[in-house]
Subunit: 286 residues, 2 copies
């Protein structure tokens, strides 16, 4: 039976650490603040927003939601984003995406300063993650994977990490983060030949494709660490969520595994706060 | 005995194609033009410059060298780069690097517009290569590797490509280009455990570490394609160059291999011209 890598343990440790950093910031006269920009009121966004607000509160940070109607026009919304971005009291910005289709999202994203771009929405942040510039913020989900590996002291250097999926939100930036810690990184995807065979070669297997339970027993071997980034509707349990990994099939084989729910997803808002605290420090030179 | 993948064959085919594109551009009233910015007169730079000028000439493109003294000051040089960049007749810019140490290179690089940045010196170009935006130019060397694979009809999709080296000039962008063509990409490096074993897994092995002859017989197996990006002083033949691959040891084992010299290095100036012609077309909307 595999060790379950619980996201809540990681988040709890991160929050303890962040609480101390927020106290330190406050002593210097700064309250780290996250701005959440939301257009409309999608249930997923509201759910994540609730979690983010709760995490901010628990560590003493400020969080302010800037909400706009779903039919807001491009020009007004651009103006609004510029205003939020220009606020001296806002250190980090999370903008929910995708935006409604009538808005030019690629243009709007770039209105966020890279130094406030705590969820890596801009090309400037992407470039920094690619080149390994530590002043750039990675998207919260791949960073959450790294936090889990660190928290549980899972060695990365020199080991084979296989990233299943190559999205800009998870797979590609995660490959760069792993490479930055000296893993040997393989990125595979739907076109990979013998995908199970490639995954079996991993010391650390990270599934980030968004396909329910696709990683089955033949994708894994004894001794592996499996990190499941997927959040999918469970085809076998209507109304429930499941990961990209068939947990029941894989868990008996591998050494360590993150559950879904309760794994990576439980760490992302702590990362968002960590990035915002880092942003506050960098912006104010301490 | 392996098939030798000769760079000159690739370059010749590219130049034929580019010649036709330059003729087409001229018919529309545009002469694609490359600007080369050089500070001082390092022999390596002069050698590459000579090759680039010759390639431009052979396809009917313009090439102008902007030369500055080695002791040029930051401010004057910034002004100079801005002026070159602002010229309407200049479509692509190559700036030799590294610049003398008293110049802030990272700042100067960003003065080049991404749409003229034909050798990928800016963060904007890096970001585009990372996200897979085809309007961004990759550095010439990794693009030359892709041109070789294409020219010799070496299948990439679904196959295992192992990139040995993770530099920003070759390894990382090459990984992104290979991923963009649906290869399963592994990036390995000095910290990789069992490096020979990882390399032996490749269908396509690309060596880009800058260590003379480090890829030996135990790094390869029958059937592989080996692309050697290294250009090193040959420890066994003073005054000669050699690659990262021990050619004598590897060539009898693998299926196809690029020689050094005569492989990847022979294709880079053709890529530079290709990018400049593309830039001319994009800038003028045809």
């Amino acid at each position: 039976m595999a060790e379950k890598l619980m996201g809540k343990d990681v988040a709890a440790a991160m929050k303890e650490n962040l609480k101390a950093q927020v106290t330190e910031a406050k002593e210097k006269g700064f309250v780290p603040k996250l701005a959440i920009i939301r257009v409309g009121a999608r249930p997923d966004d509201l759910y994540y927003e609730g979690g983010a607000k709760k995490t901010c509160e628990s560590i003493g940070m400020d969080c302010q939601v800037f909400e706009y109607p779903e039919n807001i026009e491009q020009e007004s919304f651009e103006q609004a984003v510029k205003e939020v971005n220009a606020r001296a009291d806002v250190n980090g910005i999370l903008m929910f995406s995708p935006l409604p289709k009538h808005l030019k999202e690629s243009k709007i994203r770039e209105l966020i300063s890279p130094d406030k771009d705590v969820d890596s929405l801009t090309l400037g942040s992407a470039a920094k993650v690619f080149v390994g510039d530590k002043t750039g913020f990675a998207p919260c989900t791949p960073q959450a994977v790294m936090e889990i590996l660190h928290h549980f002291s899972i060695p990365v250097q020199g080991r084979k990490a296989v990233v299943l999926g190559r999205s800009l939100v998870v797979g590609k930036p995660l490959a760069m983060l792993l490479l930055g810690e000296n893993a040997t990184v393989t990125v595979c995807h739907s076109k990979t030949q013998d995908l199970p065979g490639v995954c079996r070669e991993a010391d650390i297997l990270i599934a980030a494709v968004g396909r329910a339970k696709m990683v089955k027993a033949d994708y894994v071997k004894a001794g592996q660490v499996v990190i499941d980034v997927g959040i999918n509707e469970d085809p076998d349990n209507p109304g429930k969520y499941c990961g990209d990994v068939n947990f029941a099939a894989v868990e008996p084989i591998v050494d360590k595994i993150t559950p879904v729910p309760g794994g990576v997803g439980s760490v992302t808002t702590a990362v968002l706060c960590k990035h915002t605290v880092m942003a506050c420090k960098m912006q104010n030179g301490f």
